[in-house]
Symmetry: C2
Subunit: 346 residues, 2 copies
C-alpha cells in the first residue's frame, strides 16, 4: 500500500483554520490504499516568542523526512517585520532549494473580480524562488546616522535562471496555448536583464512550438488589468514574481482563492504548498477565513506527488462550489471545507 507522509505547518492567525480544512479535503479525496500520515510542526510567532527560534537545523532535518509540506500562514504583528519572513519562510525556501515558485491564476465562473466585464483569466506564474533580491545579500553602514547607506544585492546565476526557465518552458509546452512570457526590467536592470533574456532565448530554441514574448514588469501590471487573457505562462524573477502574483491573485478572485507551490523539482527536498494569503490576524479564530486557497494548494501538492486525478477532483469541486456561491449566505471556514470534502468524496 502507498503512503503520503505530510509535514503540516498551520502557523499563525488563520493558518490554523484553513489548514484544518485543507487536511479534511485531502483525507476525503485520497484513495483508500494511500495511507496519509501527518506530523504537525509549531513554527511561527508563538514558538518564536517562547523560544526565540524560527527554524533550526534540527527542524530542517525533521521536515526533510516528509514527502511534502503543507503550510497555512506565518506572521504576526507582535514579531518585528522580517524576523519570521527571513528566519522561517525564506530560510525554508532556500534550505530546500524551492526554486520553482508556482502560482496559477484562474478566474473561476461565478467568482467576483475587481475588473470590469468578466475577462478570461487562466495563466500560471513561474516565479524564481532562490535568487534575485531575496538572497539577503547586502548590508548597512553607518546605521541610524544621516550618512547611512543600505544596499540590497540581486544575485542572478545562469544555473539558477536556466533551471526555472526550463521548468516554465516545459509547463508552457504542456498547455494548450503553449505561450511563455518573460517578465523582467531588462532596459534598466541590464546586468540581470541580459542574463535572463539570453538564457530565455537560448532555451526557447529547444521549444519551437512555444510562442514567446517579453514584457517589462511595469507594463505587465498594465496588461494584468487591461488584458489578462494575453498571458498563458509567465516566468520571472523572485521579486517581480512576488509583486505580480499578488496582483494576479487580486484580479482573479482575490487572495482567498490563490494557491501556490514552492517546488524543488529534483525531489532532493520536500516541496511546500501554501495559500498566497497571509495570517490575517484581524479575522483569526472567527471562522471567517476562506479555506479555498489552501484546498487548491492541496491540489497542487497532490499533482506534484503524482496524484493527478485527485488534484483534478479537488479543482473541479472548488470550481463547482464557487459557481454556486453567488447569492448564498456567507459560510464559515469549516462549512466551506465540509462542502468541498463532500464533493471530492462523492
Amino acid at each position: 500500500s502507498r503512503s503520503l507522509n505530510l509535514a503540516v505547518i498551520p502557523g499563525d492567525g488563520i493558518g490554523q483554520e484553513v489548514v484544518a480544512e485543507g487536511l479534511k479535503v485531502l483525507s476525503a479525496v485520497l484513495p483508500q490504499d494511500v495511507k496519509l500520515e501527518t506530523k504537525e510542526f509549531d513554527f511561527g510567532a508563538r514558538r518564536y516568542h517562547a523560544t526565540g527560534e524560527t527554524l533550526t537545523d534540527a527542524d530542517l532535518d525533521a521536515l526533510k523526512a516528509h514527502d511534502a509540506i503543507l503550510l497555512g500562514a506565518i506572521g504576526d504583528p507582535s514579531v518585528p517585520s522580517g524576523v519570521l519572513e527571513r528566519g522561517f519562510l525564506l530560510k525554508l525556501r532556500f534550505a530546500f532549494d524551492h526554486h520553482v515558485n508556482l502560482r496559477p491564476s484562474k478566474l473561476l465562473p461565478g467568482v467576483a473580480t475587481p475588473l470590469a466585464g468578466q475577462p478570461e483569466i487562466d495563466f500560471v506564474v513561474v516565479r524564481e524562488g532562490t535568487e534575485g533580491p531575496y538572497t539577503g545579500n547586502g548590508g548597512t553602514i553607518r546605521k541610524g546616522t544621516e550618512h547611512e547607506v543600505a544596499t540590497e544585492v540581486s544575485v542572478n546565476t545562469a544555473y539558477g535562471v536556466e533551471r526555472v526557465v526550463r521548468d516554465a518552458f516545459a509547463r508552457a509546452q504542456a498547455r494548450p496555448r503553449k505561450k511563455l512570457t518573460l517578465v523582467h526590467k531588462n532596459n534598466v536592470l541590464t546586468f540581470a536583464g541580459h542574463l535572463w533574456t539570453n538564457v530565455f532565448n537560448k532555451v526557447a530554441a529547444e521549444y519551437p512550438e512555444v510562442t514567446t514574448d517579453y514584457i517589462h514588469v511595469d507594463a505587465a501590471t498594465i496588461f494584468l488589468v487591461t488584458d489578462p487573457a494575453r498571458f498563458d505562462v509567465i516566468v520571472t524573477d523572485n521579486l517581480f514574481g512576488d509583486i505580480i502574483t499578488d496582483l494576479a491573485a487580486a484580479v482573479s478572485g482575490g487572495i482567498g482563492v490563490a494557491a501556490s507551490g514552492n517546488i524543488n523539482p529534483s525531489g532532493d527536498f520536500p516541496s511546500m504548498f501554501e495559500p498566497v494569503h497571509g495570517s490575517a490576524p484581524d479575522i483569526a479564530g472567527q471562522g471567517k477565513a476562506d479555506p479555498t486557497a489552501t484546498v487548491l494548494s492541496v491540489a497542487l501538492l497532490l499533482r506534484h506527488l503524482g496524484h493527478e486525478d485527485e488534484a483534478v477532483r479537488i479543482e473541479e469541486a472548488v470550481s463547482a462550489d464557487l459557481g454556486e456561491r453567488g447569492g448564498l449566505p456567507a459560510r464559515s471556514t469549516s462549512e466551506i471545507g465540509d462542502a468541498l470534502a463532500v464533493r471530492v468524496a462523492g
Copy 2:
C-alpha cells in the same frame, strides 16, 4: 516682462506628435507678459543611429541653461534595450538629480477604467528618482557561460531617502486628506527596508497632522485594484515606484492620460516633465496618439515654475474635455490639442 525658457525634447515615435500639442496648449495658456522661448533637442534613436551619441556633456550643459524640460518619449525597437534608457533617460535623471519623480493618478469623470464600478481615484505617487536598483551598480562575471553571475545593487542612502520622504510629507500636508503611505518590501529587503522605515517614522514625527501607514509593495498592487480610494500620497523607492505607477496609470484611465515630473526641488538643475507612456512606434506618425498625458505634464511643469493658475486652467480643460469625450467619434492627436488650446485660452 517674464520669460519661460524651455528645452523641448520630442524624441522618438509619438513623442514628436504629442509634444507639438503640449506646446500648443502651453502657448495658449501662458499670460501675454510671459515670453516663451523654446529650444528643440534631437535626442533619441535617430541621433543615436547617426552619431552613436545619447547624451553628451555638452548636451547636459545646453539643457542646463533652461528653466525646465519637456520630453515626449525616447525609445525605438531599432536600438538595443537599455541603450537609450540608461544612456539618455536615466543619465539625465541622475545628472540633474531628479530625485522627486512625481506621478499623480486621478480618475477623471467620463474616463474609462478597467476596474468595475467607477471607484474614486485621486492620489499622487512620489517615487524616488536617483537611487535604489536604478543606479547601475552591479555587474556580470563569466558572461555568456553556464557559470555567469549577474548582480544588481540597490543603493539607498539616508540623504537620498530623507529628501524624498520630506517632499512627500510636505505634499501630503498640503492635501485635504493629509495621508501618506510608505510602500516598500521591508520584510524581505530588510537593509533598505529598515532605512526607509526609520527615516519615514522620524520625519512623520514632524508632521503630526499627517496620517501615515505602511504597506508592502505586493499588497499595494492588490489595493490599487480593489480599493484605490485608500491612497492619498504614496512615497516609495525607484523600482517599486516604476511598477506601481504603471498600474496606477492603468486603473485611472490608462497611460494616455498619465503625466509625470522628474523634479529637482532645489532648482540647481532644470526639472523635466514627460508623459508616462513610451514612444509607441506602432502608432507613430498616424495622428492617433492621445496628447492628454503630455498636456497634463505641461500643467505639472507650470505648477513647478510657480504658474499655479495656468496649471489649474489646463487641468480643468482636460477634465472638461475628457468628460465630453464619451460617445464622440475618436479625434486625432491635433484635434485634441486644438480643443484643449481653445479651452485654456477661453
